[in-house]
């Protein structure tokens, strides 16, 4: 390289310093414009530029691009640079291309050719540059163009190690864009054997590649297990002096170890006992090493060491087969729990959460309960505390539930607001799951409401009530406890709700005590009444009316409350209604009726508190560590001991989907109630379009997810359809788009006017859409309803017809026999008549239903005018905007042959035919 010019590119340096010295944005833009114009004139000029100049200008363009300006030229020059033999020029060319050239550029062919040349080059630096460029662009085109060559390069014997390294990583990049780039079969074993390579760099790069390949196709790459294990054991057992370049702060090849350990987590524990033994040995060695005193005080040393250790522990947890390793891992983590380093404590807690789910180490984890609880109390970092809560939740079982719940309750008082709601749910779930004594359960939940009432969601207190109602033995205790709880000066609204409900049901159980006599109970509840929201007030009103039944002696007090203006004339319609109805109920009805109406609530259907669990999952998607269901085993050992009578230990998860809203049918319109998507027959779809010829209202269409109802009102040539869309699921419908359309022919005959609707239908909700129809002319088709929406992420479509047919515009006409037959004769042209003879589909004796159908169709049934009393004779006028079409009909049954003869006459041929075609399917 000539010394004068050097590598410095003075022009570039001057340009950059100019830009840096610009005082304002405008000045900068001016400078850039000037430079761009200069470069353009240079590129356009007749004089050919040498490599140095090209490199300089391409560099400037790159710099301008990185400043945020668009660059739309210079690509050719950059591509030219690729064919240079000088490293710096080639490098700049590749840099420009990987930064600036988009996949669909016209130059891609040229570039691909240049890269091909470089790949075939003998100079390893050129090959590496080419590989880098491929990986940086990493497009599908690149994958197609080089999918053949790179694997060859990777496994070929005479490629240098550095190149192999780049090739492995490049291949990984291409594999991520296009998994088909690596052909299965021939290459598999050769790629896997890269793990045996001499060069650690190659092994590290290959480990990443193999990890990605294994994730795609575990079976094919199974061979890598033993290789990985032996490689791992070589690293682990070696002294740190063995790998000169690959020892990081006295830890031998930490990155490679971590990658290998991760690779092994893709497979179950190795089956071959030899391999298995070696792996355990390795893991043990890693655990042993953790005990050794650190070789350096530097943070990097401990970081690298711990990285390997944590990855090893995850592998141990993943394998979940060696109890002693699990226990050792657990002990190791236990040490970290009290480590000075916050990150270590966090990681230890996180790993322990997973360990707690393994049956082998569960006991071992429990040993650290003290420490974890301590962490909860003393830890300064909120995220660590959160992990501690997670771990407590995960390690909880029958033996320690009481203690853990107690600790969590204690912590709740000081807990961060952000995690309180989650904690409340966890406490509620644990208390319910491991409750042996329901008194304890009730205590816990009431405590929960007392301590963190704001964070107790509806479902939590629904659940308490549900359990109390189902369990006779706790009812008295519950009533007593809530009564005491309510005596506090300030108690949370949720407490009032629970108290109101429970006293309303079981207040009589504690009424014997003079301290909690009926009057006192009523007074206590009513003292909270004014502070509550209207929903709670409504609940309390129900409680009061239940008191009327339970304690007739305080009836007058209760009635006073109902009569109070604030209730009987409440602005809230619900309160007003309840007050007036309850008042009437207590005043008018006899005791018997009262007792029947206000009877104790029947037991709720037994189910697991899946509602709460779902709620918890919803709160932290992907982050919920399961509390392992060891209860299942417990139940298996003592079959059906508790099941049946207990609402809590019900083990089978039959009605998981039941949703949370229907835990207690407390007047909340339930989404999944009985006819939810799971209980309903799979894929049952009802489409009732045929029935709508003879009726106006009803369910038009129904499947698992959605129900469409129709209500039709007609007046002369106008009709109005109310379409009701009901969401039967627990998920909202998104992008809900009902589209009503008519075929071209039909749109001439009727005018449709459709109201717009919201694009979202909430879970369990129903709403209506109005469709106005005007009949212009007679028609025989029906408009289409095309419904598109997203349910649970999946697009759904429903295509049905709307029940609008010509008969909706028939006005029934009354006339006597004479008039009928004279008109009948007037319409005697062959085209005006349509006759059909058909077999009866329904019993012919049911004349009432036949009549109902004819009337429902729109006709006036003219009785006693036909000589044959069995015959049905009908008349009607079809109203359209342009004209009125008279329409007469005779239906003659032949009971012996079980056939009908249907004759329709009208002034228009198409109408007669349409009516008879439709009606012949109805009888």
């Amino acid at each position: 390289m000539p010394a004068v010019r050097g590598d410095g590119m003075r022009g570039l340096a001057v340009f950059i310093s100019d830009i840096r010295n610009c005082k304002s944005k405008e000045a900068e833009i001016k400078r850039i414009n000037k430079e761009l114009a200069n470069i353009r004139s240079k590129f356009k000029g007749d004089k050919t530029l040498d490599g140095y100049q090209k490199k300089k200008y391409v560099c400037k363009l790159l710099f301008i691009f990185l400043l945020g300006h668009d660059i739309d030229f210079g690509q050719i020059e950059a591509v030219n640079l690729l064919s240079s033999n000088k490293y710096t020029e080639k490098q700049i060319g590749y840099l420009f291309i990987s930064v600036l050239i988009s996949g669909n550029s016209e130059l891609i062919q040229l570039i691909v050719q240049s890269i091909k040349n470089d790949l075939a080059s003998r100079n390893p630096v050129h090959v590496s540059l080419a590989l880098q460029c491929i990986a940086n662009i990493g497009s599908k085109d690149m994958a197609e163009a080089f999918g053949q060559e790179i694997p060859k390069l990777l496994v070929s014997g005479d490629t240098l190690d550095v190149v192999k390294q780049s090739a492995a990583l490049c291949l990984l990049r291409l594999f991520r864009t296009d998994p088909s780039v690596i052909p299965s079969g021939e290459w598999t074993s050769r790629i896997v054997h890269l793990l045996n390579d001499q060069h650690m760099g190659v092994v590290t790069a290959a480990a990443s590649l193999i990890d990605a390949l294994v994730k795609k196709n575990p079976e094919e790459y199974k061979g890598c297990i033993s290789l990985a294990v032996s490689r791992l054991s070589r690293i682990v057992t070696s002294s740190y002096t063995d790998f000169q370049d690959y020892t990081y702060y006295f830890v031998p090849a930490p990155w490679l170890s971590v990658k290998l350990l991760r690779l092994l987590q893709n497979y179950p524990p190795p089956e071959d006992p030899g391999v298995r033994g070696r792996l355990s040995e390795c893991l043990e060695t890693i655990l042993n090493k953790a005990q050794e005193p650190p070789k350096s005080k530097k943070i990097q040393h401990s970081n690298a060491k711990n990285a390997v250790l944590f990855e090893a522990i995850s592998l141990i947890i993943h394998n979940d087969s060696e109890p002693n390793l699990l226990v050792r891992a657990c002990n190791q983590l236990g040490q970290f729990l009290s480590h000075r380093e916050t990150n270590l404590r966090y990681l230890a807690l996180e790993s322990m959460c997973i360990l707690a789910t393994s049956e082998f180490s569960h006991e071992a984890v429990k040993k650290h309960q003290e420490t974890v609880i301590n962490a909860l109390k003393t830890e300064r970092d909120v995220s660590v505390r959160q992990r501690a809560v997670d771990l407590l939740y995960a390690m909880c079982d029958k033996s320690n539930a009481e203690e853990i719940v107690l600790e969590m309750l204690a912590y709740l008082e000081t807990a961060d607001y952000s995690i309180r709601e989650e904690m409340v749910l966890k406490v509620a779930i644990l208390a319910e799951k491991y409750a042996t004594d329901y008194k304890w359960y009730v205590d816990v939940i009431l405590n929960l409401i007392r301590l963190a009432g704001d964070y107790v969601s509806e479902e939590v207190w629904y659940r308490v009530i549900q359990i109390v109602i189902n369990r006779d033995d706790v009812q008295g205790y519950a009533a007593k406890t809530v009564f005491e709880a309510l005596q506090a000066q300030a108690c949370h609204e949720n407490m009032v709700k629970v108290g109101g409900y429970i006293l309303g049901e079981f207040g009589n159980l504690i009424a014997g005590d003079a301290r909690s006599s009926p009057a006192v109970q009523l007074q206590l509840l009513h003292s909270k009444f004014h502070l509550c929201s209207s929903m709670t007030r409504a609940l309390l009103l129900s409680t009061y009316v239940k008191f009327v039944n339970l304690f007739p002696e305080i009836k007058s007090h209760v009635e006073e409350i109902f009569v109070a203006d604030s209730n009987l004339r409440s602005a809230d319609a619900e309160l007003q209604q309840r007050a007036s109805e309850y008042l009437a109920l207590s005043k008018l009805t006899s005791l018997d009726v009262l007792a029947t109406v206000l009877e104790e609530m029947p037991p709720f259907p037994e189910k697991e508190s899946s509602g709460l669990l779902n709620l918890l999952k919803k709160k932290r998607p992907g982050r919920v560590i399961e509390n392992p269901d060891r209860l299942d085993e417990h139940v298996k050992k003592e079959p059906r001991e508790t099941n049946g009578t207990s609402g809590l230990t019900l083990a089978s998860n039959t009605e998981q989907e039941g949703g949370s809203a229907d835990l207690l049918g407390l007047g909340v319109p339930s989404a999944g109630n009985g006819n939810g998507p799971t209980t309903n027959g799979a894929g049952a779809v009802t489409n009732n379009i045929q029935k709508f010829y003879c009726k106006n209202n009803g369910v038009l269409y129904e499947n698992d997810i959605i129900q469409i109802g129709v209500k039709t009102e007609c007046r002369s040539n106008l009709a109005r359809l109310a379409l009701f869309y009901g969401n039967k699921t627990n998920h909202p419908f998104m992008n809900f788009q009902p589209n009503v359309s008519a075929s071209p022919a039909l749109s001439l005959a009727i005018l449709l006017q459709v109201k717009q609707v919201d694009s979202t239908v909430e879970a369990g909700a129903q709403f209506q859409q109005m469709v106005n129809v005007e009949c212009v002319n007679d028609f025989d088709e029906q408009p289409d309803l095309n419904l598109v929406y997203n349910y649970n992420g999946a697009p759904q479509t429903v295509n049905i017809k709307l029940p609008i047919s010509i008969n909706k515009f028939i006005e029934p006409t009354e006339m006597n026999g004479e008039a009928f037959f004279s008109r009948w004769k007037n319409l005697s042209l062959p085209a005006q008549e349509s006759q059909k003879i058909f077999k009866a589909a329904h019993p012919m004796e049911a004349t009432d239903s036949t009549k109902a159908k004819l009337i429902g169709y729109g006709f006036q049934l003219l009785e006693n005018i036909d000589p044959n009393p069995d015959n049905y004779v009908c008349a009607g006028i079809i109203h359209t905007r342009s004209l009125q079409i008279g329409c007469l009909l005779r239906l003659e049954p032949n009971k012996q042959a079980q056939i009908y003869r249907l004759t329709t006459r009208s002034s228009r041929e198409a109408v007669s035919q349409h009516i008879s075609a439709v009606l012949c399917q109805q009888f």
Partner: protein
């Protein structure tokens, strides 16, 4: 109510910071710097809301001037105030620049204290301010002088002090107009308006009462002198106008007469806008021909369209070039033309040009092939000039001075009137 006023240099360093109200914290200074001066994208809106605090800013050369408030203020009032601050500063120390601001910051704080009180703008009239804030340091003021200043500033005619005496009573009027135009390539006027202002320099003794007459259509009609009207030039329709505070608006409302006691020295008497019957001083005729993908031929003809006796000056025509221009060859008959790469435009300058003349430039632009499919948007050709007449047709009909107390009459006053027409945004699409 303005909460505070900050002045930054182009780097965002604070030069002047004055907080008038407690609701503006120190962090507001940084908020503006971070969110507006150093914003990733250029901030276009002059009003920005950051954390319920509104920032109103203007930029002068490389300085940012920002007013801050937490209240719901009248935004136009704030901008009017900011412009006034700039005007006051210019009157005191000339060009606004970082250096000038740094050299005069004591003066600026003094001025700010005078023109704003607890966030409410006060008297911003330079003439008045100069009577008691001088650049020569603190002037010792006698009791009488102080009393005179107080009575003047708080009195009915706050803009003029009594006892002014000149040997020669002179009055200068400059009618300054800015013509704005957007024209289609075919020569169709898409939009045009004139924004004009009347600058007055008065050197008159005593408390003279002046009366000012213009050829405003309404004023002329209300006079009801059809005979005279036919003789003079036709009147013009003024769309809207606004006056200096010295003009007695009640008289303008009732009689359409502009009468006032002028402030001493230089002042803007009136601002107005017209949109009808504008005589456009120049016509630009562009001709663009694309020769293949690599070449563009541009020919632009400029025609002057006013009396041949008049002479336009400082003519500059700016022809935008495509973004992929790699070379330009220019031939022009008159003036000098140059391709300015930093601005992506050809700039053609002509020093002087008489009325009813025509000149042309032709350019060959070489283009470089690019990979973008986007077509060049062809921005309009813009033009700058100065002509010695009012393109709106505005005329000063008379200006009479009455000073009842002192013994000089209207005839003794030397009056000068000058018309200047300048280009605003004068563009022709090509």
């Amino acid at each position: 109510m303005i909460g505070g006023l900050f002045c930054y240099n182009h780097k965002g360093e604070v030069l002047i910071s004055r907080v008038f109200r407690d609701d503006i914290g120190r962090n507001a200074v940084d908020a503006f710097r971070v969110n507006i001066i150093h914003a990733r994208q250029q901030v276009r809106s002059p009003v920005t809301n950051i954390a319920r605090t509104s920032f109103f800013h203007i930029k002068r050369s490389n300085l940012w001037l920002a007013a801050v408030t937490k209240q719901n203020v009248n935004a136009t009032m704030v901008f009017e105030f900011l412009l006034k601050v700039v005007e006051v500063m210019q009157n005191y120390f000339g060009k606004i620049s970082e250096e000038n601001v740094k050299n005069n910051f004591v003066l600026i704080y003094e001025l700010l204290d005078e023109i704003v009180d607890f966030g409410y703008p006060q008297n911003t009239d330079t003439g008045v301010l100069k009577t008691f804030i001088t650049q020569q340091g603190v002037k010792s003021v006698t009791k009488e002088e102080q009393a005179a200043i107080t009575s003047q500033v708080t009195g009915q005619i706050g803009w003029r002090r009594e006892g002014i005496k000149y040997r020669r009573n002179e009055l200068f009027l400059d009618v300054m107009e800015y013509v704005n135009l957007l024209m289609s390539p075919q020569g169709q006027v898409l939009s045009a308006h004139v924004a004009g202002k009347i600058l007055m320099k008065s050197y008159l003794s005593g408390m003279p009462e002046c009366k000012f007459g213009i050829n405003d259509k309404i004023a002329m009609d209300s006079k009801g002198k059809p005979a005279e009207e036919s003789k003079t030039k036709s009147a013009i329709a003024i769309d809207d106008c606004q006056f200096h505070q010295c003009v007695k608006l009640s008289k303008f409302e009732s009689e359409h007469a502009i009468s006032f006691i002028p402030p001493d020295g230089e002042n803007e008497l009136m601002r107005y806008r017209t949109t009808k019957d504008i005589s456009l001083p120049f016509r630009v005729i562009p001709l663009v021909r694309e020769v293949g993908r690599a070449k563009l031929e541009v020919k632009v003809v400029v025609k002057s369209n006013f009396k041949p006796s008049l002479l336009a000056q400082k003519i500059e025509i700016r022809i935008p070039t495509p973004l992929n221009t790699s070379g330009v060859q220019l031939i022009c008959m008159k003036g000098k033309a140059k391709y300015k790469a930093s601005e992506n435009a050809i700039v053609w300058k002509i020093k002087r040009m008489g009325g009813m003349k025509e000149s042309q430039i032709s350019a060959e632009i070489e283009l470089l092939a690019t990979d973008t499919k986007k077509k060049w948007t062809r921005p309009p050709i813009s033009m700058n000039f100065e002509v010695p007449f009012a393109p709106s047709g505005f005329k000063v009909r008379y200006l009479k001075v009455f000073e009842p107390k002192l013994n000089y009459s209207d005839h003794d006053v030397i009056k000068w009137v000058r018309y200047i027409g300048r280009s605003g945004l004068y563009e022709t699409r090509c």
